[in-house]
């Protein structure tokens, strides 16, 4: 079967030639990746604008007349859902996953390219259904991104008539799209690697995406089912999640359902989702730090096991989102313990990132700046997670701005920093040109400092007790003037950060034609995607010869080597020969070329 899978029929295949098959109905993982990425960024821009509108209302109440209470809740809901699912999940797995997996493991494409193409178009449909909810009577749902029933499907919540139906439909479609893509990613990584590419030689980017995709395949079905059940409750009047309710003096037709069930199902998906977004970021940042510090990643094996450990543990911590939901307090104890245990593998990763930087030859390139800022932001957001993971500390902080600050730092800003770093890092491979440096510097510094200006003060707001998800705070007695002043300041910072993202988008377009030519391997990186014969890689990725891998992805600054990096496909003996040559002016005659000693040859190969 090995032969079957690896048959090289595509070597002579030059791929589709018409514009439509090449760029629109494309089955090439690289084109699909860019389609995914651009769609995710486009819908992310919508969410960005929504956050401006919300911030305007919070900082300068009443300044924008059309942002009324209903609109505010709708914006908050759509902002959250878009950012978490349609932007971050899609760009990390559909975007970077698609682009990098086949290139990094040395495959010609995903194992099922047609399914991969379908995945993108179904994702696009999900996005369009979501966007369409802005244009239906009643507008999008305003139930909050967690969509807790019963309020999300009952009259009185904005968008209860159409918005919630479209939201749930869109989620169900998204999950179908994700499953088609995710099956491809996992199978490609497991079964279609290059010769010599063992699992423990894969770059951590691939590991992060792999574990995250696998988690997605187990977590998204749960959201799928709870979405279907909620949809049935809303549309045909079943009572899975709705108990007896008296509304306006009249009993509703519902009864006997369990609202707590939805919370459990939602967070059984929702917590792994945090790591579905975070693990690809962990993986990518590990590679970025290593490459731009010219040093091997510290503790590669531990990094891999930490990824797997975090992935496994994240399935048994979900109820820490529900300490105040009224569930049995004994559960709170259990989930607090598991939550704090997850800090161990996470801390291993942070130590290893710092130790990778330690005494490295740090190049403060823009990807590196974003990577370092990720580590800082992640540590910051992670530490506030320790506060919220403990029941007794969490209860008073529940539903305050402390929570908003925590999750924006840890799973909003931190992964977005990695997205930016990764785009600056791989843009040269995707387009053949570097992104403009000065624009990148402005983008980085305003984003980095700006996000701190936004989220630092929110921790204070949380300690003061400012509740989250409120439309206005003007007439609330216990809220001091300082809160109002801070809210205005946060809004100004948010607008600056928002505007500088437009500069980034401009940079993406500007550099396409005018960026500095990059060459095949501008960062002098070792992993396979930088060793392709063409930049950007063409259909089939590798030309005639499939790559053969001889080493891990982190051979930087190896003592005695003539370059400070050794690509993964560089044969072992060519380094050893060079090494011997340097030390011994009269080298002994080389023996017969031996195969890679780490890999025993298989039958038929020897």
């Amino acid at each position: 079967m090995t032969e079957d899978n690896a048959t090289d029929t595509e070597a002579e295949d030059h791929g589709p030639t018409t514009f439509l098959t090449k760029y629109v109905w494309s089955q090439d993982h690289k084109v699909i990746a860019i389609q995914y990425g651009l769609t995710a960024i486009a819908i992310g821009l919508v969410a960005l604008v929504l956050s401006w509108l919300m911030r305007m209302q919070l900082g300068f109440p009443g300044a924008l007349e059309f942002v009324d209470q209903e609109a505010y809740y709708q914006y908050a809901t759509m902002h959250g859902m878009i950012m978490v699912i349609y932007l971050l999940t899609a760009i990390f797995l559909g975007g970077f996953g698609n682009y990098l997996i086949p290139l990094m493991v040395g495959a010609r494409d995903m194992v099922f390219p047609y399914l991969n193409m379908l995945s993108y178009w179904v994702y696009l449909i999900a996005v369009l259904v979501l966007v369409s909810s802005f244009f239906v009577p009643g507008g999008p749902t305003g139930a909050g991104w967690t969509l807790y029933p019963p309020q999300s499907i009952l009259e009185g919540t904005p968008g209860y008539d159409w918005g919630i139906i479209l939201m749930l439909t869109s989620l169900v479609i998204f999950i179908i799209a994700f499953t088609m893509g995710g099956l491809n990613y996992v199978t490609t990584i497991l079964q279609a690697r290059a010769r010599g590419m063992t699992l423990m030689r894969m770059p951590l980017t691939v590991w992060g995406i792999f574990v995250a995709t696998f988690m997605g395949l187990l977590a998204f079905p749960v959201l799928f089912v709870s979405g279907v059940m909620l949809l049935l409750d809303r549309v045909i009047g079943t009572s899975f999640f709705v108990p007896e309710i008296i509304s306006m003096g009249e009993p509703l037709a519902y009864g006997g359902g369990s609202p707590l069930l939805f919370q459990h199902l939602f967070w059984f998906f929702g917590h792994p989702e945090v790591y579905i977004v975070a693990l690809p970021a962990f993986g990518i940042v590990s590679d970025l730090l290593s490459i731009h510090a010219r040093k091997n990643i510290f503790g590669y094996r531990m990094m891999v096991w930490a990824l797997i450990g975090i992935g496994a543990l994240s399935f048994i911590v979900w109820a820490h989102h529900m300490y105040v939901s009224g569930m049995d307090p004994a559960f709170g104890f259990f989930f607090a313990v598991t939550t704090l245990i997850i800090a161990v593998p996470t801390a291993i990763k942070v130590y290893n990132w710092v130790l990778t930087l330690w005494r490295g030859d740090i190049h403060l390139t823009i990807p590196m700046l974003f990577s370092i800022s990720f580590v800082l932001t992640f540590v910051f957001g992670g530490l506030t997670g320790l506060f919220l993971g403990n029941v007794v500390v969490d209860v008073p902080l529940s539903d305050t701005y402390f929570v908003v600050a925590h999750f924006h730092m840890v799973m909003g800003v931190a992964p977005i920093m990695v997205v930016f770093g990764a785009i600056y890092h791989w843009y040269p491979k995707m387009t053949g040109r570097m992104l403009n440096g000065p624009m990148g510097q402005i983008h980085f510094w305003v984003t980095f400092l700006g996000t701190y200006a936004i989220y630092f003060p929110m921790h204070y707001l949380g300690f003061v007790g400012v509740p989250r998800r409120y439309y206005g705070y003007e007439d609330i007695e216990f809220i001091p003037q300082s809160v109002h002043d801070l809210n205005a300041a946060i809004t100004v910072a948010a607008l600056f950060v928002g505007v500088v993202q437009l500069l980034f988008l401009y940079n993406l377009v500007w550099s396409l034609k005018r960026g500095e030519l990059a060459g095949g391997n501008p960062w002098r990186a070792t992993s396979l995607e930088w060793q392709t014969p063409n930049t950007p890689p063409v259909h089939g990725n590798w030309g005639k010869n499939m790559p053969q891998v001889h080493r891990w992805a982190y051979d930087f600054s190896v003592p005695g080597a003539d370059k400070d990096f050794m690509p993964q496909n560089m044969p072992r003996q060519s380094f050893e020969a060079a090494d011997v040559h340097k030390l011994d002016p009269d080298p002994p005659t080389a023996g017969p070329p031996s195969d890679d000693p780490a890999l025993p040859p298989r039958e038929g190969e020897a």
Binding site: T2, V111, G182, Q191, R193, T238, S239, F240, G257, P601
Partner: protein, 227 residues
């Protein structure tokens, strides 16, 4: 070299073999095609779909304030004046499990490259599957006539109808997809598409899906009908 390795293969344990496969290059599962590994991963994912359905059903069964209907009465048929509890479900379960048997035989015939026998067995499997769906349609019709709706029913807790239609509906959908899948693959087997490549693994992949759908039914049977 190859000889030496063959000798050492006899002495290593399954555990060592597993570690060796996983630490090797190219493939983590040796001699497993892309399609087959993808089907396994998909089924793992699908397990969570049905697991969540059943968890949800059990939770609402606890949370509802009205008594749960007695399933042996609701699912009874009166045949020749005698009320037989769960008789239809028993037949349906028997049919579906028998179809797993014919499926396994089809896989075997596929690997023996007896295309005609494999195709016929697959078509028998599809026929059994289709009759399962037919009986399910009969059951739905009967319950709907008796007034069972997703939002109410005359026997007790409204969640009974909701969970029933949702879970059996989703499972029936899986069986229907499986029937179509079987017919398509059987046609291709008859046409000789796989004879050219000499590879009948697709029959096994179809079988994996089919056995999974059967296995899920066993759980639905146990948790929904017998409990």
């Amino acid at each position: 070299m190859a000889q030496k390795r063959a000798v050492s293969d006899q002495n290593i344990t399954i555990g060592q073999q597993l570690v060796e496969d996983w630490s090797s290059d190219r493939e983590a599962f040796k001699n497993v095609s892309w399609g087959k590994s993808m089907m396994w991963i998909f089924l793992l994912s699908d397990t969570f779909i049905f697991g969540t359905f059943l968890t949800g059903y059990m939770t609402v069964r606890m949370s509802t304030t009205v008594a749960w209907p007695n399933t042996s009465e609701v699912f009874a048929l009166t045949i020749g004046g005698v009320e037989l509890p769960l008789v239809l479900i028993a037949i349906m379960t028997f049919v579906l499990i028998s179809s797993s048997g014919t499926m396994a035989m089809a896989v075997n015939m596929g690997y023996q490259r007896q295309a005609k026998k494999a195709a016929i067995l697959m078509l028998i499997t599809a026929l059994l599957g289709a009759s399962f769906v037919g009986m399910q349609a009969f059951e739905w019709t009967k319950l709907i006539h008796e007034g069972v709706r997703p939002w109410e029913n005359p026997f007790g807790a409204p969640q009974f109808g909701a969970a029933f239609f949702m879970i059996t509906g989703f499972h029936g959908l899986h069986v229907s997809v499986g029937v179509i899948f079987l017919v398509v693959v059987a046609t291709k087997v008859l046409r000789g598409d796989y004879e050219k490549r000499g590879d009948y693994q697709i029959v096994e992949i179809t079988g994996l899906y089919w056995h999974f759908v059967d296995l899920v039914w066993v759980f639905i049977f146990a948790f929904f009908y017998l409990w």
